[in-house]
């Protein structure tokens, strides 16, 4: 009897500690009692297993006969685990939280539930963990739909090809490596080359593009995430963004699940026919988290100690990016995975895998970054395999030959380092190339609208910048755009509405640039 009293006292203490919030909502203690009395407390049947061993977040249990792959296991104390290995006599469970309370011989229970998370419309603007729980200290996400973390990618008959552009607001990308909605474009580069900055810039530019952004942060420092969140909030971009976070201090299992949680949230909106952009920052850490789990589960390891299914790990994730046809809602998921390389080595295991899965890559290089080229995109090696079909006509008009021009320029530049006297034509080509290159520089937090990009690139590739001093080009561009906005806004309106440059608009623009250049003698080179 004493025992009974003691344990029930302990229980009530526990109850009140965990549910302080709930208690505060109650009008009185008696309503709580009434609530409890209303509960149907029946004997329940469940699958039970006994812990054989545990360590490093891995629990091995026998029993659990009916367990399925990807089933949630109740580890007690509100902690859940996920079945990853099913053997005849035991089950390998990876803990999704702490396991400090568990001992060998303890009982764990099957839940019969396949891993899924709750998504509702009000998840937009929030920060959640891979289980869909709010971690930004605000209210809980309201009950919506349960989305499976592992879902089969849309089939062939439900898809259509990429045809609508996704404007990143970054000149170098929109003009030379265009991305379409539903595409998978890899951002790859060494640490500190501005990979995250490009992704964040792309989010900032979606303010009026009717795209929901999902930023999946995998294994990052909590401090960087706080900074990212602060930036998005300050720029008003959190209104259409969801952040899924499994930080460096979360268990490897959570980091492994984060991208799948991100795409599951995206699929919730895809099912409503909406356009979504998902950023996985970054998949290198994701592969490392999976390697950790696999090694602890004693799965055979292969190249770089990664398990055999590391390709499938990423292919099944990125295949879920899609552009659906009209009959299936017409929504899209665009995936921008990020891969961090070491010493520019793109032939390492994980980078080559993801390069071959995606529809193009944006290469960022430390050398370019250090020489002041920001964004440090190598436009020579970067490609977009499907995006050009979606590129806006106006951008195509001005950027058509730009990639070739830049390639020629780089060749000339390398060549001209050896000889001092160059003929006039070569010098002119070099000067043009330098200016076009200069125009591609852009602050990551200053995305430009399509029509703004078009008028700037137009003036560079058509020689209107040849007379402008190289160091003044940034100032020139800023003033030029301001000038057009105030005095020639019809040009910009026309390009935006028509999505192409009409002949009379080109004539008007030519006039406008000449007028503007005449106004600003201070930026011109002395003849």
């Amino acid at each position: 009897m004493v025992l009974l009293k003691e344990s029930s006292n302990k229980f009530v203490k526990n109850l009140s500690a965990t549910k302080v919030l709930y208690m505060a909502k109650l009008t009185s203690f008696s309503t709580l009692i009434q609530d409890i009395e209303k509960l149907p407390l029946l004997s329940q049947e469940r699958t039970v297993g006994t812990v054989l061993s545990l360590g490093d977040g891995i629990v091995e249990a026998d029993g659990l006969e009916k367990a399925q792959i990807g089933e949630l296991i109740d580890l007690g104390e509100n902690q859940l685990g996920l079945t990853l290995n099913l053997n005849k006599d035991k089950v390998g469970v990876v803990a999704l939280g702490h396991t400090a309370h568990l001992r060998a011989g303890d009982q764990v229970y099957g839940t019969g539930q396949i891993l899924s998370l709750n998504v509702a419309d009000d998840i937009i603007g929030r920060v959640v963990d891979p289980m869909g729980r709010a971690i930004d200290g605000k209210s809980e996400i309201s009950t919506g739909k349960l989305m499976l973390l592992e879902r089969i990618a849309p089939g062939v008959m439900t898809r259509q090809s990429v045809s609508v552009p996704l404007q990143t607001g970054i000149k170098a990308i929109d003009a030379l490596i265009p991305i379409g909605r539903g595409q998978r474009e890899l951002i790859i580069g060494d640490r500190g080359t501005g990979k995250t900055a490009i992704a964040l810039g792309a989010i900032l530019n979606q303010a009026d593009q009717n795209i929901i952004c999902i930023y999946v942060s995998i294994g990052q420092k909590r401090a960087s995430l706080a900074q990212t969140m602060g930036t998005l909030e300050a720029r008003g971009a959190l209104k259409y963004t969801v952040i899924v976070s499994a930080s460096a201090s979360d268990p490897a299992s959570m980091q492994f699940l984060a991208p799948y949680a991100g795409v599951a949230i995206a699929e919730y909106f895809l099912d409503q026919g909406k356009d979504v952009m998902v950023i996985y920052d970054d998949l290198t850490k994701h592969a490392q988290a999976y390697r950790e789990i696999s090694l602890l589960l004693r799965r055979p390891s292969g190249r770089e100690a990664y398990p055999g299914d590391v390709f499938y790990l990423h292919s099944r994730l990125l295949e879920r990016a899609a552009r659906l046809n009209k009959e299936h809602g017409g929504g899209s998921i665009t995936a921008l995975p990020i891969i961090e390389t070491q010493g520019n080595d793109v032939s390492a295991f994980v980078p080559t895998n993801v390069i071959s899965i995606t529809d193009g890559q944006i290469y960022l290089e430390a050398d370019l970054f250090n020489s002041g080229m920001k964004p440090a995109i190598n436009v020579g090696t970067s490609v977009s395999r499907v995006g050009s079909a979606a590129q806006v006509k106006a951008t195509k008009q001005v950027a058509g030959t730009m990639k070739l021009d830049l390639a020629q320029f780089r060749e000339l530049q390398a060549f001209s380092q050896f000889s001092s006297d160059l003929d006039e034509k070569t010098k002119a080509q070099l000067d043009r190339g330098l200016r076009v290159n200069e125009v591609l520089k852009q602050g990551w937090d200053a995305p430009l609208k399509m029509e703004e990009q078009v008028v700037v690139i137009y003036s560079a590739v058509n020689g209107y910048l040849d007379k402008v001093k190289l160091e003044s080009i940034t100032a020139w561009e800023k003033a030029y755009l301001e000038f057009l906005h105030t005095q020639y806004s019809t040009i910009l309106d026309s390009i935006r509405k028509e999505s192409k440059m009409l002949d009379d608009v080109i004539t008007q623009l030519k006039g406008a640039i000449v007028t503007f250049n005449d106004l600003h003698e201070e930026w011109m080179m002395e003849a």
Partner: protein
């Protein structure tokens, strides 16, 4: 042979054991081995574990159900 573990908070009487055994045999056939375990942790009631299936009718399990109700909402 399936092992059936009967967990109670206090020592059951032999009449109770017999009654439980009869009930289990009715459902699962004669091929069973009954084990009785006393575990004060379950506070009261009874837990019957057949292989990896557990039928939980303990007070502890019911309190747990109450807790879950409030934690999840």
């Amino acid at each position: 042979m399936t092992t059936v573990i009967v967990t109670t908070a206090i020592e059951p009487t032999s009449a109770q054991i017999e009654a439980i055994k009869e009930a289990v045999i009715k459902k699962h056939g004669k091929d069973i081995k009954l084990e009785s375990v006393v575990d004060p942790d379950i506070i009261g009631g009874i837990q019957i574990t057949i292989g990896s299936r557990q039928i939980d009718g303990s007070i502890k399990g019911k309190l747990e159900q109450i807790r879950k109700k409030f934690v999840s909402n």
